[in-house]
Amino acid sequence: MFGRIRTGIIKKMGIAAISLLTVAALFLGAAQAGAIDQFSGLKGDIRISGGTAHIPVMKEAAKQIMSANPEISISIAGGGSGVGIKQVGEGIVDIGNSGRAPSEAEKEKYGLKLFKWAIDGVGVAVNPGNPVTALTKAQLKDIYSGKITNWKDLGGSDAPITVYTRDASSGTRAVFWKKALGKGDIVSSANFVVSNGAMKTAIANDPNAIGYVSVGHMDVSVAGVSLDGVSPAIETVKSGEYTVARGLYSNTKGDPSGLTKLFIAYLLSPEGQQIVVQKGFVPVN
């Protein structure tokens, strides 16, 4: 059949067009699958623990990688930033996530290498049914130190304030304490929750609650409270207007290698950064 079509300009152009499109498609396709492709044919496992704010992104990334490569196994645990740093430093996990930059002492003691792949904020949150939606830093300090104990003193209903906080290992808490609370006291009758997810659930279920949670985690189940006029949202974190912000880090002991290196590269790749955006954080690339 083709023998009958004489080679002409149109056919030449057609072949050229098809070739170009094919090459372009292959190229684009390769670029799309680029980061995941790095994992193909590899096997092993990656152990991750630490910051709880990172978990949604970790889970999605792990899912993508493990779906494409069943030989790879990724396990994810929480525990807070302090745990992540300690465990990666001691060699118990391969990647230790932290919601605050490790201190100089920690970096030196464990020889940590940091990789920041997202920017997040820490916002004050109350139950969606609570009429109070704006606070000043001074009021926040007084609430957490126990000076103000009833919502009616802030223009809300007559009900005692239930204060929620995180444990000492939490990076979210460290950032909140330093930047929002100005290193003020936290009253000893505060209820403790173990992660960002738990904080969200607690606030959503308690009409008189106040707590602090990663901005990326905030959704309709909690109501963000604006601090000195700036409300905690991804836009204000991005623009720098909301100052209670922190980077999301993945730390390794020394330079990462093998699967760990690929995983971190994946986080920083376009696909990884897309997951970051999808989960509600500010990408770094």
Binding site: D45, R47, S49, I55, P56, M58, K59, A62, K63, M66, S67, P70, S73, I74, S75, I76, A77, G78, E90, G91, I92, V93, V193, V194, S195, G197, A198, K200, T201, A202
Partner: protein, 299 residues
């Protein structure tokens, strides 16, 4: 005080106690079933993956309880498997060979072990893992193996006690007949006593299985994590059903996850119910040849 009045009060009180106790538990379980049954189904366990693919490990299950169920099954099987030989042998020794002094001392130690809060056993397992990590192998860390060992510590007393009770509870004639015919004590144990104690030992094993399946405190500290897939190796992390329930209860991100928590609770409860009925049937078989076993003063 008028005995009739006191008696009447006591009757009312005891009826009230029974009603409050059974009523509260029935309300709780009823609520659980109402909320959780709608979420039961293939999707709860296997997510979007085909059942065959998941069970044959061809595809990973990400949104289902399958990894947690597999994790619980593994940890229970391994830890009970570890505890049975040690526990049965220890029970045999206590029943047949121990001197009075040994019975007192060992018995005390077993009772103490049985009473140690599970979180303390978890702490012990964790410290053991860190010890090995620091001084023996830097690659070692809290993992399936550590949980298995710690859980074995937890349930060892159950198996030891029931083995000892079963063997000591046999009729004297049964215990001594073979000896009278010239058998050694060990022969007596293997050919006469053990076969007749199987029901009792089995009850102990079922108790141990139930305890391992429901335990959360020990595994929380010794290797269970929220996301790990099915347990790949003894030295790796794993998921478990009771931990999933705990984790979801405080950190569910949407209604669907909360419902899966209810579903998981029902599955766990179902496992316990099955074990309970198994134990009940075994008790029936045990009571069969000897006659019904009842409290001596039933109404």
């Amino acid at each position: 005080m008028n005995i009739r009045l006191l008696g009447g009060c006591l009757r009312v009180f005891s009826w009230g106690a029974v009603l409050v106790l059974t009523g509260s538990v029935l309300v709780l379980l009823g609520y659980l079933l109402i909320k959780g049954v709608p979420s039961l189904g293939r999707d709860l366990i296997f997510g979007q993956v085909d059942i065959l693919d998941a069970v044959l490990l061809r595809k990973r299950v990400f949104d289902g309880l399958f990894p947690a169920i597999a994790g619980t099954l593994s940890v229970v099987a391994l830890s009970v498997g570890l505890a049975i030989p040690v526990g049965v042998c220890a029970g045999i020794y206590m029943s047949e060979f121990a001197t009075v002094f040994q019975q007192r001392v060992f018995g005390l130690m077993f009772d103490i072990l049985a009473g140690i809060p599970s979180i303390v056993i978890g702490l012990f397992g964790f410290s053991g893992a860190i010890f090995i990590h620091r001084y023996i192998s830097n690659d070692f860390r809290p993992c399936l193996a550590v949980s298995v060992a710690a859980l074995a510590f937890l349930v060892l007393p159950y198996i030891t006690r029931t083995t000892q009770a079963a063997m000591q509870g046999l009729a004297e004639q049964t215990r001594q007949a073979a000896l009278a015919l010239g058998a050694t004590r060990v022969q007596n144990i293997f050919y006469v006593l053990l076969p007749r104690s199987v029901s009792g030992i089995l009850s102990g094993i079922i108790l141990a299985i139930g305890r391992c399946a429901e335990d959360t405190a020990v595994i929380m500290l010794t290797g269970v994590v929220a996301t790990a897939g099915i347990p790949g190796s003894l030295l790796g992390s794993y998921e478990a059903l009771p931990f999933y329930i705990y984790y979801i209860s405080s950190q569910y991100t949407d209604e669907a996850e909360l419902m899966s928590g209810y579903g998981a609770a029902i599955i766990l409860l179902g496992v316990c119910a099955v074990l309970f009925f198994l134990a009940f049937i075994i008790k029936r078989r045990l009571a069969g040849p000897a006659g019904p076993v009842t409290g001596r003063f039933h109404g």
